[in-house]
Amino acid sequence: MAYERTLQAMTWADAGHMAPELILIAMMAVLIMLDLLLPRRVDRSLIGWLSLASLLGSFVSVVWRIQHQADQSLASEALGLLNDNYRIDDFGAMFKLLLLTAAALIVLWSLGAMKQGSSGQLVHQGEYYYLMLPATAGAMLMTSTGDLITLYTGLELLSISTYVLVGLRARRALTAQAASSEEKVSAKPAEAAFKYVVTGGISSAFILFGMSYLYGLTGSTHVGEIGSSLPQAVESFRGLIYLAFFFMAAGFGIKIAAAPFHAWAPDVYEGAPTPVSAFLAVVSKTAAAVALFRLFYNVVFPESLSNGSTIGHDLFRAVLAVAACAMIVGTLSALRQHNMKRLLALSGVANAGYLIAPIGLSFYGVHSNNAAELFFYAAAYLCMNIGAFAVLSIVAGSRRDADGSVQLRSFEGLYHRAPWTAGAMIIFVLSLAGLPISGGFFGKLFVMMGAASSHAYWLVAIMAGTSVISYYVYFGIVRQMFMRSSGDEPVHVPAASGIVVWLCAAATLVLGVYPNGLLHWFEHVFSVVGDLLILR
């Protein structure tokens, strides 16, 4: 089965279909030039507003495409651009909406955070805003790849942009240097960035090594072709195929920060500027999980249907084991954590378990909506995590000490200092803990029901157990906010940060009260055969 693949030039019609990504890339180029040409005295939040506008423009063009397809009753038709390297389908489009929402919320919140106090102000604000665009475009590429090369390119576009974003240092580092040259400049952002570059590089190498074997044994980099020629390859090279998948799963595990591969996450999140931590926690994680979902379902799923197949089942079981491990390790290590950013990083590790659990729960019997579970959980996770990080940055901005690290006790008496922000934080904490009237509750519930309907009862038990343990972690925050009183002056909440906090809180509540709205919309738009599977 040798396919001779022809080169296909990009046409204007293709460019129209890729408009959401192209808008971001083009605007990045424009903003780089603008940043160079604008005189120094012009406030760089202008670039922030423009990048927010381009994210929204990209969002509108994705929505327009979904609507356009629905109007023309092409709901099940997916397009393969550039010789099927790039897939335009509703699976990708729905997750692109999530990623763009997350990026837009983070940019809006940064516009507030940069104004507040000294700890949030970055030295290179222009770079910060326009690097958000290629990072988001990379994440979007990952959600709609039909080819390993495209997947790798998107992954690296996301990773390399975020390497730089993590390393951007705050202005306070400079003033500290000016005040006392004896005192060491805070190396935290650079150190975090270096750790992230090294772990990210290792994870890319693992993914690539796995991909190279997959290509060598099946003769193609197109995921649909790999899927169709895998059963043949398994017969003669079983061990090597296992090796390839093992390497790829490990590499993606590092990117998602799931448990045995999560050691970098607390360090990097702590050292990075807070909005960038939220970006890593939400956008990188979701994009990697979605890419893994599409890859596994196209490459392994056809093989797992055939009789006597082991490799598909083993792989799905391995994903479930990583998910369980992530939940247990993330929850237990959060118990002893007092640094808020590290705590949220570890809670993100536990949440990564929930994100990848639907991937491992493949289609057994009646269980067919794991894409919807992943989508709903990703949406709930987006709202609660960005909200919690935004509250954290508001608290950090109100503190006088230049250390910049936010401990659990920084939330002391927040209810008396900023009652509305404390109220929003309650909603996020409820959602993170998975208690009712919050999006997190239904997100966890759907994943659990999915696990139960595919008879993975041990996973349900682990989910329930770790949720109960995590109550202790999250209610520590509530106790600090309400039970303690503190003499500090009221916290100043910048308008943009306040808007983001309340948008996230409202969305969390809406998802908790009326989860069916989002779920039905997703199931209305998405079909497994038309959108997810790439058949060749």
Partner: protein
Amino acid sequence: MLASYLTMAAILFCIGLYGAFVKRNAVVVLLSIELMLNSVNLNLVAFSKYGAVPSLTGQVFALFTIAVAAAEAAVGVAVLIALFRARGTVKADEFDELRR
């Protein structure tokens, strides 16, 4: 023929992984990562010539990998320079400000 290339690539990958975990000099850590990425290139090119289904795609993939790895190395070295300015050292085990 293929087996020897694959073994060579696997050995390079392992040396790179060992170096990335063990080496104390941060520049050598970055070099080790490059070694891992280059072992992948060797794999891809070997497969594209002697693989089960030979095709040009492997060489194209290798070109992509080389380009992206160069970008990654550039960012890695830039970050390392920023870190060196702040800390005055490139010893990886002295980068411990984040562990408390």
